[in-house]
Symmetry: C2
Subunit: 358 residues, 2 copies
């Protein structure tokens, strides 16, 4: 079968890591008898430089004509928060999520066997294992709320952001979480701040309704401040963690760091209809761009998620993950994950090695 | 000199830990020639049980008639988020902060020498030391914004919370942070989400203005998701971290857990005029209430902060902290911090030992 994939190479190290992911896609295609066609889509700082805005007209339509989207990385100090909104890469990220209806952001935070030493937590904690899936609501809440800025009489300028959630938005992300939990260890932890926020109280009431419906899944409420603590104290307690957009932004990054392997972690952003968007969780790292130093593994593992969640090709997904684990087990490391004394390899060699294992 | 202290004993283990803190206050009074009078103030779940609301009328006035407020802990499952607002302990906490103008919440997260083993991070990280001060804005932002709940036509119920900040609010908390940094290692890290939120962009612009004024203090902007990661990766990099209310709630709890000693950490909530409010960061732990098992150290160290920030009695503050460190160095532990093989002591004995060292 042929799959059409939109490639958003993006900024900084984005183009390099996408190149390696394409190598792996091709290797999988050859082995399993699929073919891929690629459609380059301009988005992010590079789009601002080329056409004056980070989210060129027609971007969503071009992506919608594909079966999935692979994104390298966007952003950089050149297009900072002092620039007008339409030139900032973040604006494009938020817009594409909304336009493609990608309301569910899946962020696995797992300690890969070969990388246990990289875990910043004590050995005893790392040994218990970490394997959680953060499910972040991605198209609602304060990141998409009304923004205001106005002059007051006695307090100077004042700014405001609005966080809103509807039952419908909460229910669809909640269902995703419970469905995922059924395929995993059957536990959902729902994170909110129901002792203060109205949105959280609505969130909690919808989750409780779902918990009754999915009565085979263990369910718990966790306050967001407590969750930030528990991720450090005992991340192994979590299976699926579901939360709203901003809490998810903060907690999923915390959970990622707890595994110690930011350069290895993929993500999937999906909606109810194709295409899903797949991207590494790391940034564009402009300081090492173009130097063959970037770690392509997170992007390659994002391809595995694409196979799993957009193409429903589980064997292909497993093959990619196994290839990554095999190369890591042999001791190959890019600079970001090289232990002292290990000679690191480059971006391209890492991609070649993984593609070679498929 | 005589100081009048309002005691909010509160719920769960609150009354027990306040008792031990009072022992220490008395010991300091005797040694340094101060006297203290105490005014019991009802607030929290116990107030709901007694008079039907968690924040009885006149609470603020009674506190304002004192020089400082010491709070044990409030809250518990009995007064959960299903109860009406006026019965919930959180409502009382938010109200007293607002009514006393306590806009600055100081949350030290430091690894006490005797407790380095409790740090959940790798030994190498713990050995570098952790000694940061989180400065959380406490009376603005989304925890005090307008709340809405309404029926929509096609999305079911919808809820909303509003986050607002004025230049004036940002400036006064910013100044606190810079002033504190001058007394410490002269570095301020300001946390925001300026790539998305309007309030964060205003926050950042005010902080930049202050950074120019306090040019002897090193300054950096940190995005909230990145900060959540850095606190796990390398907490030793931070000196003073300043941020808005909700980010501060999440990050200060994360930072506390990173030290591994929740039962040891105090907090101060202060405004421009007396009285400040001092409380341990831990909760009311209803499961161990009344069993002489609670750790009173965080409350005792809150008394040290009271001496330092409300009474400007640095020698007295130092004496309390030294007494705590001496007792810990001798190996005395309450159950929550007892290493395997150590026989723990009770709440009262811990209080007696610390008071005895003054
Ligand atoms: C760049 C920013 C808008 C984005 C977010 O917060 O959603 C990023 O932090 C992420 O997590 O993908
Ligand atoms: C109980 C709650 C309102 C409170 C807060 O979030 O401010 C608590 O978590 C705290 O940090 O003091």
């Amino acid at each position: 079968m042929n799959y059409k994939i939109a490639l958003i190479r993006g900024d900084g190290i984005g183009p390099e890591v996408v190149n390696e992911a394409v190598k792996v896609l091709e290797a999988v295609g050859q082995k399993f008898g699929h073919s891929f066609t690629y459609e380059d889509v301009l988005l992010g700082g590079c789009a601002t430089d080329a056409v004056g805005k980070s989210y060129p007209d027609g971007t969503a339509e071009r992506c919608k004509a594909c079966d999935a989207v692979l994104l390298g990385a966007v952003g950089g100090p050149k297009w900072g928060s002092d620039k007008p909104a339409e030139q900032r890469p973040e604006t494009a990220l938020l817009a594409i999520r909304k336009d493609l209806g990608l309301y569910a952001n899946l962020r696995p935070a797992a300690l890969r066997p070969a990388m246990a030493d990289a875990c910043p937590l004590k050995k005893e904690t790392a040994e218990k294992g970490i394997d959680l899936m953060m499910v972040r609501e991605l198209t609602g809440g304060i990141y998409f709320g009304q923004r205001e800025k106005y002059q007051t009489e006695d307090r100077g300028l004042e700014a405001a952001d609005r966080m809103a959630y509807s039952e419908k938005e909460i229910e669809r992300i909640g269902r995703r979480a419970f469905e995922l939990a059924r395929l995993r260890r059957k536990k959902v932890s729902s994170v909110d701040k129901a002792n203060v926020l109205e949105t959280s109280r609505l969130w909690r009431s919808v989750m409780h309704r779902l918990a009754e419906e999915y009565s085979d899944v263990q369910y718990e409420d966790v306050l967001v401040d407590n969750c930030a603590m528990q991720l450090v104290r005992d991340p192994g307690q979590f299976d699926v963690v579901v939360t709203e957009n901003m809490f998810g932004d903060i907690l999923s990054d915390e959970a990622s760091m707890v595994t110690g392997s930011i350069g290895l972690l993929p993500s999937a952003s999906i909606g109810d209809t194709a295409p899903g968007l797949y991207e590494p969780i790391h940034g564009s790292a402009p300081d090492i761009a173009g130097q063959d130093k970037a770690n392509p593994i997170a992007t390659i593992l994002s391809v595995a998620m694409m196979f799993r969640y957009s193409f429903h090709l589980a064997a292909e997904a497993d093959a990619v993950e196994a290839a990554v684990d095999a190369v890591l087990a042999e001791g190959w490391r890019t600079p970001d994950i090289a232990e002292p004394g290990v000679t690191p390899i480059g971006t391209r060699q890492m991609g070649d090695l993984i593609a070679g294992k498929i």
